[in-house]
């Protein structure tokens, strides 16, 4: 099954997967992000939300910090291995004379695509939102066969 699946993917996809896997392993071991980037994109007026990804035996739980966001504005979509969040910020967040931007900058959106640590069944995912924190529960895809114990 896995071999058949691999044949459908391009060499580039497989290479990207391997690089992603190595990055995650190094991140876990050393505790640093490989491609360090700030949590904002000034040109697009976007902020990347803080995210915590946690894995149990049965599901992947993604918790996302979304201050200034209304529940009804959240756009959430998932594939087998990614979760995408988009949400407009209720009030524009302004920062004045900050860091490399010695002028006022504004942010209007939270946007982030999160790579999941295991394949999931996105159609069975559930989400809840409380106090500006979004929790998404994604059941893991089950592979293999049940073996009877005699």
């Amino acid at each position: 099954m896995e071999v058949a699946e691999r044949r459908r993917k391009s060499l580039f996809d497989i290479f990207e997967e391997i690089v992603g896997h190595i990055d995650r392993v190094i991140e876990e071991l050393v505790g640093i992000e490989i491609c360090e980037s700030p949590l904002c994109d000034v040109s697009k007026r976007e902020l990347k939300p803080l995210v915590h990804v946690y894995e149990t035996e049965d599901e992947v739980i993604v918790t996302i910090d979304l201050p200034y966001v209304r529940k009804e504005d959240i756009k959430l979509s998932a594939s087998e291995d990614t979760l995408k969040i988009e949400a407009p910020i209720r009030e524009r967040v302004k920062l004045s004379r900050w860091g490399p931007y010695q002028r006022e900058v504004e942010f209007e959106y939270f946007r982030r695509t999160i790579k999941l640590p295991s394949n999931v069944e996105p159609e069975r995912a559930k989400a809840k939102f409380k106090d500006g924190i979004l929790q998404v529960f994604l059941p893991k895809k089950i592979y293999g066969y049940r073996i009877a114990v005699e």
């Binding site: 876990e28 050393v30 505790g31 640093i32 992000e33 700030p38 949590l39 902020l47 939300p49 803080l50 995210v51 915590h52 918790t63 910090d65 201050p67 200034y68 967040v93 920062l95 942010f107 409380k130 106090d131 500006g132 924190i133 929790q135």
Partner: protein, 251 residues
Amino acid sequence: MERETFRIIGMEGVDVKGAKLLVGIPDVGLVGVIATSHIVQSLKMKELGHIDSDEVPPIVVIHENEPKSPIRFYGDGGNLLVLTTEIVLPPTAIFTVSRGIARWAKSQGVDLVIGLTGLATPNRLEIEKPAVYGVATNPETRQILGKAGIKPFEEGLLVGTYATLLRECLRAEQANLTLLAEAHLQFPDPGASASIIETLNRLLNLNVDVGELLDKAEEIRVKARELMKRTQEQLRSLKKIQEQELPGIYV
């Protein structure tokens, strides 16, 4: 000759005998940093001095066109001192800075070092008002805990900066009280900071209003994201997760 790696600058003429020193360093939920920052602003405390060390990352904070050290002391003119930092300390600096603070506090006659931090709580989302727990290094301070109605942190592990500060205070025989508010591990938690401040109000007879802090909670959560991200990386490297593991065997 041993290289001098820790210096306290600007505090030479300040009488800190009998003072209570509040410490806010990036850790779980940035609870200590948010709390100390709010206390400094509310009580209009004055900047007194700073810590310098060769092991502190090469960072200068610029406020209103003035370069400042990232680890600074503030005072209220009375017996309240605050030590706060806006940077995440690398593991080697944690030891040097903690040891330096403990020894300096002991040598200057500081009455009590109070560490303010968060206790990573998996079901934090379900908790309206975070509880605050305390660990004290000596029986006298444990009595104060009881009088202020602070629940003792009975069993478990503490990992990271505040654990090192606690240990170094024990070594230096400097009284230390570490307050831990139930908090989000990975996100800035102004609600937990508010609980800590309310506890300090009772403990030290302060009058710091937390209303403004709670009103500005969303703004703080947005602005503290980058610091929280760096703190997350540090907590991972320090294996903070050990705090949540089931107990081992204690003799």
